[in-house]
């Protein structure tokens, strides 16, 4: 039954895709323009033709853009002309670096907040104020202090991924069942062993949910950050192609961002499954 459900869902997905591409294809067909009694020579001089190509790229244009980029993703022909794989690698590196730094800070701090009601109360106002700030608002300050565009984007990723991880870690740690802590106490388990063998595995699913949310936000933010600072990265690529008025490349990049985002989310989904447990 479930297999036939996935099969039917797959068929519906493909039909929807075909319908969408069909509608797109229909909407971007060359149009007949009525030139009236205009002198054909004058029309040709004005760049007008009785058959007008669409301004919006057709599905075929996108197909060929995808083919062009994916067939040679890693070329470097100067600072403004690099393969899409290189651009993507720059973005991924920034996201992973910022995310890893955030995890290094957020998880221990979340542990502290989750275990100590005092620290929870003391740090809560700062977290509540800092959490809603758009990460891009930090960019000018980062650029001024760090004076390096790439590291500034890493900082922006750091600052946006830190909050969901910290809040989730604190929540996960604070809601570890008293039973398990009592077991650790009666077995005279030391604080380090308790943290790693009881609290961490108990809170791991919640922590990983926080990481998954953080990674999603980081991947959203990196595009905007790179548009702002320029240089390299998938966000810069989009902005560059917009300046080139190459919409086919823009659409290709949009698709690529979606696919990479999905893969990142799936990775964290799988990691979450590894550490999850069924409570009884």
């Amino acid at each position: 039954m479930s297999q036939s459900l996935s099969l039917r869902a797959g068929i519906v997905s493909i039909l929807l895709l075909l319908a969408f591409i069909g509608a797109w294809w229909g909407a971007t067909l060359p149009t007949q323009v009525d030139l009236g009694d205009m002198d054909p020579e004058y029309a040709a001089m004005m760049g007008l033709d009785s058959v007008q190509e669409s301004d919006i790229p057709t599905p075929g244009d996108i197909g060929s853009a995808i083919w062009t980029h994916l067939s040679d993703p890693f070329y470097v022909k100067g600072s403004n002309d690099m393969g899409i794989g290189i651009q993507l690698a720059h973005s991924l590196w920034r996201v992973l670096a910022g995310f890893a730094l955030a995890a290094l800070v957020a998880v221990p701090l979340g542990f502290l907040i989750g275990m100590s009601p005092l620290m929870h109360k003391a740090l809560d106002p700062y977290i509540q104020i800092l959490k809603p700030i758009s990460p891009l608002a930090w960019m000018p300050l980062a650029l001024y202090i760090i004076q390096d565009a790439s590291i500034s984007s890493i900082f922006v990723i750091f600052i946006c991924s830190i909050w969901p991880m910290m809040v989730n870690t604190a929540y996960g740690v604070a809601s570890v069942r008293d039973d398990w802590l009592a077991v650790a106490k009666t077995l005279e388990v030391g604080p380090i062993k308790k943290a790693f063998k009881v609290i961490l595995p108990a809170a791991a699913p919640t922590i990983l949910t926080g990481m998954r949310i953080s990674m999603g936000i980081a991947w959203l933010v990196i595009v905007a950050a790179e548009m702002l600072v320029g240089g390299t990265g998938i966000g810069y690529f989009i902005w560059n192609e917009w300046n080139n008025l190459d919409l086919a490349n823009v659409i290709f990049a949009i698709l690529l961002i979606g696919v990479v985002g999905m893969i990142l989310d799936m990775i964290f989904g799988l990691l979450g499954k590894v550490v999850s447990y069924k409570e009884v």
């Binding site: 039973d179 398990w180 009592a182 077991v183 106490k185 009666t186 077995l187 447990y277 069924k278 009884v280």
Partner: protein, 291 residues
Amino acid sequence: MTTPAFIQVDGLEKTFPAPMGQAPVTVFQNLDFEIEKGEFVCLIGHSGCGKSTILNILAGLDAASDGYVFMENKELTGPGLDRGVVFQGHALMPWLTVRENVAFAVKSRFKRHSKDEVNAQVEKYVDMVGLTPAIDKKPHQLSGGMRQRVGIARAFAIEPKMLLMDEPFGALDALTRGVIQDELLAICQATEQTVFMITHDVDEAILLADKILLMTNGPFAEVAECAYNPLKKPRSRQEMHHDGHYYPFRNHLMDFLVNGPGTPYGEKTQPQETVHTEPEPAPGPRQVVNG
């Protein structure tokens, strides 16, 4: 002067601080009792008399407001590996298998054990509760009774001087409970384990306990009576209701729970004279008495 008991509880009291503008609540007070080595002691009483708190104080998980607990003449001030605890809700870690759950305790107790020694200890105690076939399963793959067995194996595996059990079978169905009671009885008789157990099941207490502490209702609950089980060891669930002492003793405990403290059991007329006159039930299908 007799030698002091293995466990000596002196004037134990628990008072919870007052909520705003109200008087503090004393749950129980003036608790004095003793547990001898190898003795199985049950504490019965209604909900709210602080039974679990007493067990937690013995386990070192909670602090008394007043009074002392001595174990082998040393005051107990915190949790320790000399006491094994079986929790009401089994408290197994769901991300670990049965083997890993028991090994967690064994490794904490025997820090110098090699891997093989730990494994041997784990397998010995898992086998003791009959769970060898399920040793590599996670708790969610087990039934409620099997989980509680793992909890018992974990507590025994650290070879504690005293076992503390907080209504360990409260959440189990009657049949499973009976089976595990039998197992526990056999294990305790074989190992001469000192046990302190909380229950509100009178039959469970009669089957398992050598000594039954009866608590009055809270607040200001006290141990009103310390009744020695008149049924001789070895007891068995199938046979004990044929014992002439069974009904008088059971009635006494029930009277206590329903009507409150009366004449202590030992001071009543001898049970042989007041033994029930109804004929012995014909041998036939076994009845589960008040499961």
